[in-house]
Amino acid sequence: MSKKSYRQAINEALRQEMRRDPNVIVLGEDVAGGHGASGETGGVGGVFGLTGGLYKEFGPTRVLDTPISESAIIGAASGAAVTGMRPVAEIMFVDFVGVCFDQIYNQAAKFRYMFGGKAKTPMVIRTAIGAGFRGGAQHSQTLHPLFTMVPGLKVVMPANPYDAKGLLISAIRDDDPVIFMESKVLYDMEGEVPDEAYRIAFGEANIVREGKDITFVAFGAMVPRALAVANTLAADGISVEVIDPRTTSPLDEDTILESVAKTGRLVVVDESPPRCGLAADIASLVADKGFRSLKAPIGKVTCPHTPVPFAPNLEDEYMPNPRRIEEAARAVLAYS
C-alpha cells in the first residue's frame, strides 16, 4: 500500500495485467510513441502518460502504436478479442468516439447477443473524459450516457486512484466490452493504492459518505465535488449521503434506492448535457422504484444544454460547480 496518483494506479493495473496474461495487449495512438522517428521509441506512453513505460517492458508486440484511425483501432481490438486476445484500446479523448462509434455500438457491443451468445469479446476501451481542461468543444466532453444507453457495453467511471486500479483490472478480466472512462482532471489525484492486483466488482456502488438528510449520486470527477459540498453542508447540520455508482452499466440500483429510502431526497450531479443523461436516468429510476420514499422533487445538477465553451470562466460555470450543487441541494431540502 502506498500513495499513488490516479494516473499511476491505471498504469500499474495495465502493467500487472500484462505481466499476468500474455493475451493482454495495448493499442492506440502514441501509446508507445516515436515509431519511425529519429529519436527515442516508446518514450511517450500516451499523451496523458497512462501507458508510460509499457513499451520498454513489453515491446512492440504488446504495445502497438497505430495510425490515427479510430475505427480501425476499435475494430482491431474487437477482432482480436473475439479470436483470443484481451486488448486494451485507447481512444485518446472520448470526444473522438464519433469517428468510430459504429465499431463500438453496432459491432463489439452487439456480437454476443446478435450471434446468439456464441461470441465473446473481452476488450477494454480506455478514454479520457471531462471538461475543466480548457480543451474546447471537441476535447472536453463527458459522453457516458452515449455508452450507458448501449446494450452490451459495460461502462466504468472511476472517481479515485483506488477505484481506478481495481476497476481497470476487473475490466481487463471481463469477458465483455468495457468502456473505461478516465477523468482528465483526476489524473493527478492521489490516494492509497495497494501494490498488488485487486478487483472491484462492477455494479457495486461506493458509499463515499454516509448521511441521512439527502442523497447525492455523482459520477467520476463529480464525486469529489459532491463530497466537498456535502462537507460544507455538514457545517450547517445537514447530513448528506454521497453515492458513487462506479459503473453506470451495470448500475447498482439497490444502493441508490436504499439511500433514498432513508433520506427521501435526491440530487444527481452529473457532468453531461441535461437531456437523456445519467442525471435523468437516475432520477427516472427513483421516480419509479423509489417513489414512495420521495419527499421532494429530484434535483439534477448537470451541464447546460450547450457545447463545452473554451473561455475558462464560461467552462467553470458550464461544469456542475459547488455553488450550483449547493443551490440544488438547498432547494430540494427546502421543499415541503
Binding site: 476499435i74 475494430g75 477482432g79 456480437f111 454476443r112 452499466s249
Partner: protein, 321 residues
C-alpha cells in the same frame, strides 16, 4: 496447386450448395417464410468458394450483408443457416441474428455484417491475433465495391499495412452498390489500385472463374501465412438478381443481366472440368442431387422448427434492467 478429384468435387459442391440455397431463399422469401429482407449471392459463387477453398476453421473471415455464400463456402451448417434466416430456434444464432448476422466462431466465421464497411477493421484484429500468436493463419475481410467507399475500409487497409498483419481484403466488385453502379460511385482506376496506394499487393481477378480466384487467393495466402503482410483481391463478378430479393432492377437493362448470366461460374466450372476430363458429368450430377436433397431438408426443418423461446429475449446481453 493441382486439385485432386475430391477437391474439385468439394469446390463444385460448395458452389452448387450456395446456388441452391440462394434460389431457395428467393422462393421462401416470396412465400413469406423468411422475415425481413435478404440479399442473395447468386452469380458470385466462384468468388466465395475460391477465396475460402484453402482456408481452415482456424482462418477467419468477416462477411457482409450478402453473406450466405461466404458462410457456406466457409463451412457453416446449411440447416443452421436456414433456421437462422427463418428466425427459428436452432438457428446458428438462435434466431437472434437473421440473414445479415450469421456467425459461427467454430468455423472461423466472424459474422455477416449489416453495416457496409463493418468487417474490414474487425478482420484486421483477427489477423493481429494470428500474427501475435504466430499461428500462420489469416483473416479475410469480404467487402463489396460499394464498401470500398466507406472510410472504415480504408482505415483497415492502412492499419493492416502498418501493423503488417496477415489480413486479406477481398473486394467483390459486382458492379453495383445497391442500385448505383460502381462506375459512378468508385472514383479512380480500380479498387485494386486503391489497395496498392496503401502499400499492399493487389490483383484484379475474374470472379466467374473459380480457378483464377483460388490461384490469386493462393498468392495472398502464401504471403499471409509467411507473416509478410496484407494482400488485396478485387474480384470482378456479377449479381444475377437485384440488390435484395424483390428488387425490380429497372436500373439494369435485361441484356446486361442476360450477359451476366451467360457467364455463370457454375456451367463454366462444369465445362472446364469435364472437358479436361478431370470429372465427368455424372460426378457433378450426383453432387447436385445430394445438395438439392440437403437444402430441401434444411427448408423442411426450418418450416417445422419453433420460434425461439421468449425467455431468450434478454439472454446473452450481460446486463439486465
Amino acid at each position: 496447386m493441382q486439385l485432386s478429384r475430391d477437391d474439385l468435387k468439394r469446390a463444385y459442391r460448395s458452389m452448387f450448395t450456395i446456388r441452391t440455397f440462394e434460389e431457395r431463399v428467393v422462393k421462401e422469401f416470396a412465400q413469406g417464410n423468411i422475415p425481413g429482407f435478404a440479399h442473395v449471392y447468386l452469380g458470385q459463387e466462384a468468388s466465395g468458394v475460391g477465396v475460402c477453398f484453402d482456408l481452415s476453421n482456424e482462418d477467419y473471415i468477416g462477411s457482409t450483408h450478402r453473406g450466405h455464400g461466404h458462410c457456406i463456402a466457409k463451412g457453416c451448417d446449411v440447416h443452421g443457416m436456414m433456421l437462422e434466416i427463418m428466425g427459428k430456434q436452432g438457428g446458428l444464432c438462435g434466431g437472434k441474428g437473421g440473414s445479415m448476422h450469421i456467425a459461427d466462431m467454430s468455423k472461423g466465421m466472424l459474422g455477416a455484417n449489416a453495416i457496409v464497411g463493418g468487417s474490414p477493421p474487425i478482420a484486421v484484429g483477427a489477423a493481429l491475433t494470428q500474427k501475435l500468436k504466430k499461428t500462420g493463419k489469416v483473416a479475410v475481410a469480404f467487402s463489396g465495391d460499394g464498401a470500398s467507399n466507406q472510410g472504415t475500409t480504408f482505415e483497415a487497409l492502412n492499419m493492416a499495412v502498418v501493423l503488417k498483419v496477415p489480413a486479406i481484403f477481398i473486394f467483390e466488385n459486382n458492379g453495383y452498390g445497391e442500385h448505383t453502379a460502381a462506375s459512378y460511385a468508385v472514383g479512380g482506376p480500380s479498387i485494386a489500385e486503391r489497395a496498392r496506394s496503401f502499400g499492399m499487393p493487389a490483383e484484379v481477378v475474374d470472379g466467374s472463374d473459380f480457378f483464377a480466384v483460388r490461384e490469386a487467393m493462393g498468392r495472398a495466402l502464401e504471403r499471409g501465412r509467411a507473416d509478410e503482410g496484407p494482400y488485396a483481391l478485387e474480384i470482378v463478378c456479377s449479381r444475377f438478381t437485384g440488390h435484395f430479393v424483390g428488387d425490380p432492377q429497372a436500373y439494369r437493362l435485361p441484356e446486361e443481366v442476360a450477359r451476366a448470366r451467360a457467364n455463370d461460374p457454375l456451367p463454366r466450372f462444369r465445362a472446364g472440368v469435364t472437358e479436361a476430363a478431370l470429372l465427368d458429368h455424372a460426378d457433378l450430377d450426383a453432387i447436385e442431387q445430394e445438395v438439392l436433397a440437403e437444402v430441401e431438408d434444411a427448408v423442411s426443418a426450418g418450416m417445422a422448427a419453433n420460434r425461439p423461446d421468449l425467455s431468450t429475449l434478454e439472454k446473452d446481453v450481460y446486463v439486465r434492467y
